[in-house]
Amino acid sequence: MTSPHTPGVVAHRLDAATLARNFADVQEPFDHHEARVAADRCYFCYDAPCIQACPTAIDIPLFIRQIQAGRPVEAARTIWDANIFGAACGRVCPTEQLCEGACVREEAEGKPVEIGRLQRHATDAGMATNTHPYERAPATGRRVAVVGAGPAGLACAHRLALHGHDVVVFEKRKRPGGLNEHGIAAYKMPDDFAQREVDWLLRIGGIEVRTGVALGRDLSLDDLRRDYDAVFLGIGLQGVNSLRAPGEDKAGVRDAVEFIEGLRQAPDKGAIPVGRSVVVIGGGMTAVDAAVQSRALGAEVVTIVYRRGQEAMSASHHEQDHAKHEGVRILHEAAPVEVLGNGAAREVAFRYTETTPEGLRVLDHGFKLEADQVFKAIGQTLGELPEGLAASGGKIDPTRLPAGVWVGGDCAPGGEDLTVTATAQGRDAAESIHIHLTGGR
């Protein structure tokens, strides 16, 4: 019988009931009355700062007023008009860095209107009607290829379908959804929510999803340009950064994104092995998701180590607090210099760092942490690009695209790598494609 005390990387540290509890919905949904009360706190600001802070520019005061007036389904429509992934965003957006961070009540009293939870309330109500709220415009006869069935690609596909174009979405993985399906902690989207949302989105019609098809392997950009009237690329970031420290190849050292994806797709979470002592290296949302889920699987000691100070962490305060609440220790200003161990990881050696005007400096003293499992969460990269595309600043260069090709999402520059940003870029690319195909008529 394994337990959190069992050494090594093992499965089934916790019983099924505990696991179910640990991976249950992390966000408490509002009931009807709570939502009305929360909605009443909105001041309906003029030219509201929350709208400006939302990458998709949802008319937040309007949808909140619709909740307040007892029409959450219409509120959902307001959200979806700007952001077709509004339901996912209500769950996973780092709202404290976006809408809620800009809320005037944050400035006034440090307690913003709970926009994220209200958005979830509305979209849950909208999805519960079991209908799709949009009807397609008359068919244009135009066909568009979308590569990547993540938020960017599907937002683009939905908007194109809305305008009457036919869309084929090519997806490398077995399931559509992109990072919503594969890259976000399971407790943020329980009950197969990401798939349900994709199914709901596809109900608009006119979108064919072909999974298991990879650009560069199964088809080329030239094929797509030849066969379709336009091409949208929302291929995300395929590579991960390496530690560039000795011992990185030892057993027990993994990419956090791969661990997170494995957990999301596992029918039985308990079957996923996890270390007794886990060290996560990084300071973003991926680091937090890997660390918290390690604890949820029963890891006894989980430590996030970030090479810069706390203020530089890209994980939101809310995420950091959540990690600490779940028993994750967060250390700052320490860089990994070596993974130690005889074949399998046993310890990670760190050295302290300091931020200087010339950049980060690694000092000559440090510490070691016991670790039978090490997760690397130090950023994702474009990886190898399909032929015909050029990179610039770690993203696909949008100024050097072949004619008839658009790009959006994490693989494109602009904004943070978030579901909401990808959705905005996919939507806007669709509008641009629509104008290109029809002259805006």
Binding site: H33, R36, V37, D40, Y43, F44, C45, Y46, D47, A48, P49, V104, R105, E107, A108
Partner: protein, 432 residues
């Protein structure tokens, strides 16, 4: 602690807070609980004439208007006068008065509009030892269809007639309760005074439909798919009540007539405002129906503390604001104020801007960084920005120092000049 002892037309009570004639005062059990909680007085729920009691509906009697988080802003009722036998009520009144001799116990009455009916009941009230009677000329629903309640209160001649009968056949203090469902509240008050009333109490409830059910298309409260208008009360009616009280307090024909103030009193502050407008006692119902009798402790402690803070006795407060209630024509047109926005308190919501730009005088500028400032040359000092600002004291009105030029009008502020002498007034009189 300032004493709250009250002597209202000879009726003494340890504080001016009485429970109004209403469901909370319908029977001994409730009234005992009220007195035990500390209420200064009770106006017993309206008694009718001898005979079979009235019957109430057996569906909902109350409708409600909710604020955020289901805060009760107003209640509407279609309950009638007491539906218990007269004998039972009288026996209970006597028992309560015996046990609480220091409290005010006033009996509300509503009997048919003939002298014999009034004469008959008055004798029986006197036998209970109650301190006085209140004539219910206000109830707007049900009883008014039978020629009683508001049906009497809307005809000043009837008020005068019935009041005279009551004073003729009883030595008890007589308070006439007025209906607000009338054009000019001063007329029934004058009639009550002519009839010999010791005091008036107001306001009774306002005829109302609280809401319409958009599925069944019945007004609420709905009785088997139909609704009748009820009487509206609670915090929502307070401004209406304050104005009616002030009208009576300042009119030469009714000035000095004691007033028991009623209408949405929920805290000590509401009560203090009614008292400042001339009320010698106040009556509460909706707040007690919402929160129970325990609120009396906040009311008495708050009023006492306020008086202490001001160094006043209760009698100093009574009527203190009446001289400052005037007609519009006497308001000082040379008094000029401008809105000021405190940038340290501003949370940049822009509600002042939206209100002013869309619905008022375009007197607020919006600058980069969501900075909102007042344009003095456009500001008419309407106060809407102050009203809609969610931050207390963030926007305030400041008087232009006398002698300075108002950049909006080019006129010098200060001094006193009202409409009666204004050149634009065709009826203007030359200043004397």
């Amino acid at each position: 602690m300032a004493s709250l002892h009250t002597d209202f037309v000879g009726i003494r009570s340890p504080n001016p807070f009485w429970l109004a004639s209403a469901p909370p005062t319908d029977k001994e059990y409730n009234v005992r609980r009220a007195f035990q909680a500390g209420w200064g007085g009770v106006v017993w729920k309206t008694l009718g004439a001898e005979g079979p009691p009235v019957v109430n509906v057996n569906g909902p009697r109350y409708g409600v208007i909710h604020g955020p988080d289901r805060r009760v802003m107003g209640i509407n009722n279609i309950e009638l006068i007491t539906d218990r036998p007269l004998d039972v009520n009288l026996r209970e009144i006597k028992a309560v008065k015996r046990d609480f001799p220091d409290r005010a116990l006033v009996i509300s009455l509503m009997v048919p509009c003939d002298e014999e009916s009034w004469k008959a009941i008055l004798g029986r009230i006197e036998d209970t030892g109650a301190d006085g009677v209140e004539l219910n000329f206000g109830c707007p629903h049900g009883m008014s269809e039978r020629g009683m309640g508001a049906a009497v209160g809307q005809v000043p001649e009837y008020i005068e007639m019935v009041t005279r009968w009551v004073k003729q056949h009883s030595r008890m203090p007589c308070i006439v309760k007025l209906t607000p469902n009338i054009t000019d509240i001063r007329k029934p008050a004058e009639a009550a005074r002519r009839g010999g009333a010791d005091a008036v109490s107001l306001i009774n409830t306002i005829s109302s439909i609280t809401s319409v059910n958009l599925d069944s298309f019945s007004p609420e409260p709905s009785i088997d798919g139909k609704g009748a208008h009820g009487g509206y009360c609670g915090p929502a009616v307070k401004p209406i009540a304050l104005n009616m009280v002030a009208e009576i307090a300042r009119d030469p024909a009714t000035r000095g007539l004691p007033i028991s103030g009623i209408g949405g009193i929920s805290t000590w502050r509401d009560a203090a405002e009614f008292i400042a407008l001339g009320c010698g006692s106040v009556q509460v119902c909706t707040a007690a129906m919402t929160y129970g009798f325990g609120i009396i402790k906040e009311m008495t402690a708050g009023l006492s503390a306020y008086l202490d803070d001001k160094g006043m006795r209760l009698s100093d407060l009574t009527g203190r604001a009446v001289p400052n209630v005037t007609d519009w024509q006497y308001l000082n047109l040379a008094y000029v104020t401008k809105a000021r926005i405190d940038q340290n308190l501003c949370i940049h919501c822009g509600r002042c801007y939206a209100a002013c730009e869309d619905t008022s005088h375009q007197a607020i500028a919006m600058s980069p960084g969501r900075i909102f400032t007042v344009k003095d040359e456009e500001c008419v000092a309407c106060n809407l920005c102050v009203d809609v600002c969610p931050v207390e004291s963030c926007i305030t009105m400041h008087e232009l120092p006398p002698g300075t030029v108002d950049p909006r009008t080019g006129l010098v502020a200060g001094g006193y000049a009202n409409w009666t002498t204004h050149p634009n007034n065709p009826m203007a009189r030359a200043a004397e």
